[in-house]
Symmetry: C2
Subunit: 197 residues, 2 copies
């Protein structure tokens, strides 16, 4: 692992605790940094996995293929976010969805068995994981709430406000699905919004 | 705390580990069981809290009051679920929403400071908490996914399938908000669905 990546992890954790040398080594032994090419599936529907992925660079798309053959994008994970199917990781339930790199990615791969072993040795790191997970729950709940409360137009504004980079990074039909509208509606909303500015 | 409640906690945890006597005592010292009357706010917009609530009996509604004075229901927590604003608990950010008992409730109140102290003494319990949180993330992600992928009609069916008890427990206008439709639309969908059966 490069010093740069370690520095990034330390900066992330540094807000909570100062890592000891032993903890740093344990982290280095637990996670693997991988370059993954655009187009690679990290997880496919029907598959099992023990890995969670934190995105250091790049973008991972989460999508379902419906029985009608429709491709429904429900999420994008970019720098700093975690792409993981915890149902599959913890309960050995085959995944219902796909996780695919839409760009060349630099990922922190966390194997759940190694992770567990590290926490047994360093309970303090598990405390951090718990807090990160609670923050993650707060974020997903916020997204769900905004999704429920907002009209498609407001969801488009929300996208501009919270994830403006996605507009440059992913195709429009995937963004349409992500905010729950048809591609035609997405174009219309975008046009209307751009004109009204 | 009643033996019944302890038995309930043990059953929940028992799927993962056998609790030692010390751990049982620690849990009893960490959580408080409270009866809370219907109508009581557990959390209000603008407030801080250190408490998370697991619902043993009853129903808690999560809702926002918008600037236009609209009351928007975004979630209901019933038996077994956790009602908690982790953003407020961990980051001391005032809550943006309300958590209100819509029935007389029996709640397991978990104070985050006491919780942390217990985990320091019993790291195994923190491992459990981490796994519960990961399961929670999987559940919220599933709900978000179904919400994004489904039409209002499908969301109504989803409600019948996943939370049929809510139809008996809470007013229809709140359920309408929960599935993201106007009350009139909810009545229409319900009528159409009932006729087609």
């Amino acid at each position: 692992m490069s010093q740069e990546v370690l520095a990034q992890i330390e900066a992330q954790i540094g807000a909570y605790i100062q890592l000891s040398e032993e903890e740093k080594i344990a982290i280095l032994e637990t996670v693997v940094v991988q370059k993954i090419a655009k187009g690679t599936d990290l997880l496919r529907a029907g598959m099992l996995t023990s890995n969670a992925y934190q995105i250091l660079e790049g973008c991972v798309r989460k999508y379902y293929l419906t029985e009608d053959g429709e491709d429904k994008t429900v999420d994008f994970f970019t720098e700093g976010q975690i792409a993981a199917n915890f149902d599959t990781i913890n309960n050995q339930v085959p995944s219902e969805y796909y996780l695919t790199c839409t760009e060349d990615c630099l990922l922190l791969v966390v194997n759940s068995e190694k992770e567990r072993a590290t926490y047994t040795r360093f309970p303090r790191l598990e405390s951090l994981a718990r807090i990160f997970l609670e923050q993650e729950i707060a974020k997903i709940q916020k997204r769900l709430t905004r999704y429920i409360m907002n009209s498609p137009e407001q969801r488009y504004k929300d996208l501009l406000e919270h994830r403006p980079d996605l507009l440059q990074r992913v195709p429009q039909y995937q963004l349409a699905s992500y905010i729950g509208v048809k591609p035609e509606s997405f174009s219309r909303i975008k046009r209307r919004y751009t004109q009204s500015k």
